[in-house]
């Protein structure tokens, strides 16, 4: 009995002890856990970097202030951003760390201040994050990881909506390409204009069926600079499209082509030989190759002429050169003032010379009785009206996705299909541009054949299209496009001669050649009159040279008269007293002080970098020479002529010396 009791109490004590042990153990673990729980946030990655930074700056010869351990952040209220990148990127504004390893390296010189824009405004990534993976946006739940360097300029484009962003050449190129390739023919893209493409009315009398078939199948097979993409059109569709297009024989105004002169239709052999000779001469004089290439050699402004006789009909070519804008509304080709005889000769020469002897004949096909309907369907299917005008047909309502905000495209909305590329938006866009079918075999987008650089540039330009709320004060836009359009006879001539295709006037036109806005302040009217008659180039090596338009005297006079009144800037006027002493002084300045002869030819001596300076006086006005010498870049931003900071007197003297040269 006693034993039992003793045993019982022993067991009870034993049990009690077990419980105490349990209590003790659990309590210890409990306290340990409570103690270590805060450490989850206590040893973050960034502390390691900050310590590394302090170690690094201690070894530098320069004195660089070590950082205080703690999270650093830039808060930009107007952009709704909190960027903690500077927690690890500690040396971004510390010049001494130019060659330090990342993340401590100095930020390259830019025109923006991190205090104004933060980091993620340009770099993307997750500004609020404080560990490497999350901050750089390499997490599943962050759609905009840090922009790879090659797409970096996209961020410039978020605010810089100008056409030409000087310090972002890739972005600028991309935007240019988007316009040139008419992306907005199919995609809606805010802020991108459409480029002119030839209208298709009258195409039935313009081109041969064989050429058209080959062209539709592979445009670059004919001309490798064309912007027309390859749609991968099947033979049947191509045949139907050819038949469909060939049925459009009348011009937009309803008229048809006139008749050809007899000399062109049935020349005798003797006539023919004479005409070919004349045609070759006129073809050269008119400087067609300033704009057109011939089998790859020549200008890039207009199409290649090397195989043109296998493309267009004689009939069409004759009337086209006679009046380009009548056949192709909006084309930039000037109307050369050929005589009928010259014109026939040029056409015969071209038909004779520019034959494609290698043209592949398309496979035989029996015309489909429903070719017109099927062709029309194909025309719509490929959204040809997106770019080309044909009758009253409208382009399809945006066939393709809108790209105005494509830079903010969310990852979930991208279908990478079977593609194996790393899943980021820039990768997607670039791959799509290079191989439109990369993500889906049934994608409608045609192949443009972009090079990698071009695709990258377009990707950059597209990535700049975000729907972020950027306050208007940050946004920079192009100045409104010039609406300068001359009136009267001059205006008519400017249109007819397509001056604005190469020259700029008052901010309007394409700048291939010179800006004519102050031409009359620069050149003497007599010189201009003469120049129209025998255009020559100041730099004979250039491809794009002023063509001879064979203008009549009255036309030339109208042009010069207008320019004398309108293209003149009074501020550039400066009369110079041509005294012998001044000329002598100028000569010494020219040769000794400024050594201009190292670049320019004068009196048969000097370098070839700049244009020769003999016979300036017949061309240039003194005021213009004077002002050019004072500041060359004011007239030609890209010129390499240095600004020598000439005094007024020195500039006068050199001007006098230069204009003395006859």
């Amino acid at each position: 009995m006693e034993l039992d009791l003793a045993l019982g109490s022993y067991l009870l004590i034993e049990k009690m002890n077990n419980q105490r042990k349990l209590f003790a153990i659990v309590s210890v673990i409990f306290l340990v856990i409570l103690a270590i729980a805060p450490f989850k946030g206590f040893f973050p990655e960034w502390k390691k970097y900050q310590q590394q930074y302090n170690d690094l700056v201690a070894t530098l010869p320069q004195r660089v202030k070590p950082t205080e351990i703690g999270i650093k952040q830039v808060w930009i209220q107007s952009l709704d951003r909190v960027d903690r990148c500077t927690t690890c990127h500690l040396g971004i504004s510390e010049p001494a760390l130019k060659n330090a390893p990342q993340p401590f390296r100095t930020h390259p010189q830019i025109h923006h201040n991190v205090e104004d824009l933060g980091c993620t405004s340009c770099h993307d990534g997750q500004g609020s994050a404080t560990d490497f993976k999350e901050a750089h946006g390499q997490s599943e739940y962050w759609d905009q990881p840090v922009l790879p360097r090659k797409y970096m300029e996209a961020s410039c484009g978020k605010c810089h909506k100008e056409q030409d962003v000087k310090q972002a050449p890739i972005l600028t190129l991309g935007r240019k390409l988007i316009v040139e390739y008419n992306c907005s023919g199919c995609h809606k893209i805010d802020g991108f204009a459409k480029q002119w493409v030839p209208p298709l009315d009258g195409i039935g009398t313009q081109v041969s069926s064989a050429w058209l078939f080959n062209w539709l199948k592979n445009p670059r097979g004919y001309w490798d600079h064309t912007h027309m993409p390859n749609f991968g059109i099947a033979d049947s569709d191509a045949n139907n499209l050819v038949d469909f297009l060939k049925s459009f024989t009348s011009l937009p105004d309803g008229s048809t082509l006139g008749t050809l002169p007899a000399s062109l239709l049935n020349p005798t052999d003797a006539q023919k030989a004479k005409m070919l000779e004349l045609g070759a001469t006129r073809f050269g004089e008119a400087r067609c190759v300033s704009c057109h290439s011939v089998n790859g050699k020549g200008g890039y402004v207009a199409t290649d002429l090397g195989k043109v006789s296998s493309k267009v009909s004689t009939d069409w070519l004759y009337h086209y050169i006679q009046s380009p804008k009548h056949l192709l509304a909006g084309v930039a080709m000037p109307r050369f003032r050929f005589t009928d005889e010259d014109l026939a000769a040029v056409v015969l020469y071209m038909k004779n010379e520019f034959v494609d002897y290698d043209m592949v004949q398309p496979p035989e096909h029996t015309p489909d009785p429903e070719a017109y309907q099927k062709g029309l369907a194909a025309f719509k299917k490929y959204n040809c009206s997106g770019c080309h005008q044909l009758g009253t047909m409208n382009r399809a309502e945006e066939m393709a996705p809108e790209l105005s905000f494509v830079g903010s495209k969310r990852m979930y909305s991208i279908d990478f299909g079977p593609s194996k590329i790393e899943k980021t938006l820039p990768n997607y866009l670039q791959a799509k541009l290079m191989t439109p079918h990369a993500f889906s075999a049934t994608a409608k987008m045609p192949t443009f054949g972009f090079t990698e650089q071009e695709a990258q540039a377009i990707t950059v330009a597209l990535l700049a299209n975000r729907n972020e709320n950027i306050p208007e004060k940050y946004v920079r836009r192009s100045l409104p496009k010039s609406t300068f359009s001359p009136q009267g006879k001059f205006g008519k001539l400017v249109g007819d001669l397509a001056c604005l295709a190469c020259h700029q006037m008052e901010g309007n036109g394409r700048l291939v050649a010179t800006d004519l806005s102050i031409e009359a302040s620069q050149a003497h009217p007599d010189w201009i009159m003469n120049y129209f008659k025998v255009p020559y180039s100041l730099r004979p090596i250039l491809t794009e040279r002023m063509p001879n338009l064979f203008l009549s005297d009255s036309d030339r006079k109208s042009l010069v008269d207008y320019m004398q009144v309108n293209f003149i800037a009074d501020s550039l006027d400066r009369a110079i007293q041509m005294s012998d002493s001044l000329i002598a002084h100028g000569k010494s300045l020219y040769f000794d002080r400024y050594a201009c002869q190292s670049c320019h030819q004068i009196e048969g001596k000097g370098g070839y970098v700049g244009p020769p300076l003999d016979k300036l006086s017949t061309r240039l006005k003194s005021g213009w020479v004077y002002h050019w010498l004072k500041n060359p870049k004011a007239f030609k931003p890209g010129t390499i002529e240095p600004n020598n900071n000439l005094s007024d007197a020195d500039a006068d003297a050199i001007t006098a010396f230069l204009l003395k040269q006859k």
């Binding site: 805060p38 609020s128 994050a129 739940y141």
Partner: protein, 220 residues
């Protein structure tokens, strides 16, 4: 205990129960068999413990959280990245919330299978069922607050279910719940107030009744 030292005598032990506010939910003496772990598995107590943990962590989280569509997600990111132990607090709150739903449900099963719902405890069973519903509602209203995709669509699915209430009441119910027709700013504020004030108060009240009934019905 802290005022009087460790209770050695049974008298002191008894006094430490009935002179203590927190402990007076317990009787002075309990049946030895009922404190065996397998008797209740401690599920009710664990539920109360979870509620306690959730209150503490929730109150701390409230310090850093603003119930606004534009701020909420950013505040979650701040909790994750810059608030000391912010991520730990959030984890604790989240996992405790999930645990509480499960533990309360298990508690209900335990009560059922031990037959502890029978008269005279039927009223307390009803309290228990209500507490289960409240627990689920608490968890559900809290689910929206991070304002991420998971939250937004999880809650949208739920409120769309509420739309199925017949007799034209469905839209009204969901409108009342969301303060609008979509899950937006108003819904966020409503869920926040429900989650942080109304539902906890009601739950606390019912818990009081529930514990009191447990005592009255002769439980621990």
């Amino acid at each position: 205990m802290f005022r009087h030292g460790l209770p050695i005598s049974n008298r002191a032990r008894a006094e430490s129960v009935f002179y203590n506010f927190a402990l007076h939910v317990h009787p002075v003496k309990v049946r030895k068999r009922s404190i065996k772990f397998t008797y209740t598995f401690g599920l009710g107590g664990l539920s109360a413990g979870l509620f306690f943990i959730l209150t503490i962590t929730g109150a701390l989280l409230m310090l850093y959280y603003r119930p606004s569509v534009t701020e909420a997600y950013g505040d979650m990111k701040d909790l994750q990245f810059v608030v000391s132990s912010g991520q730990f607090l959030r984890n604790m709150h989240r996992w405790s919330a999930h645990a509480m739903v499960a533990v309360v449900f298990l508690h209900m099963l335990r009560v059922f299978y031990t037959g502890s719902y029978k008269p005279p405890k039927e009223f307390n069973w009803v309290m228990g069922v209500l507490l289960l519903v409240l627990t689920i509602l608490l968890s559900y209203t809290g689910y929206l607050l991070p304002w991420d995709q998971l939250a937004f669509w999880g809650v949208s699915v739920g409120t769309n279910m509420a739309r199925a209430v017949p007799f034209g009441l469905g839209d009204k119910v969901s409108y009342l719940l969301l303060g609008g027709n979509i899950v937006g700013e108003n819904a966020l504020v409503r869920f926040y107030v429900l989650h942080c004030f109304i539902l906890p108060i009601v739950t606390l009240g019912l818990m009081g009744v529930h514990f009191w009934r447990v005592r009255k019905d002769g439980g621990v």
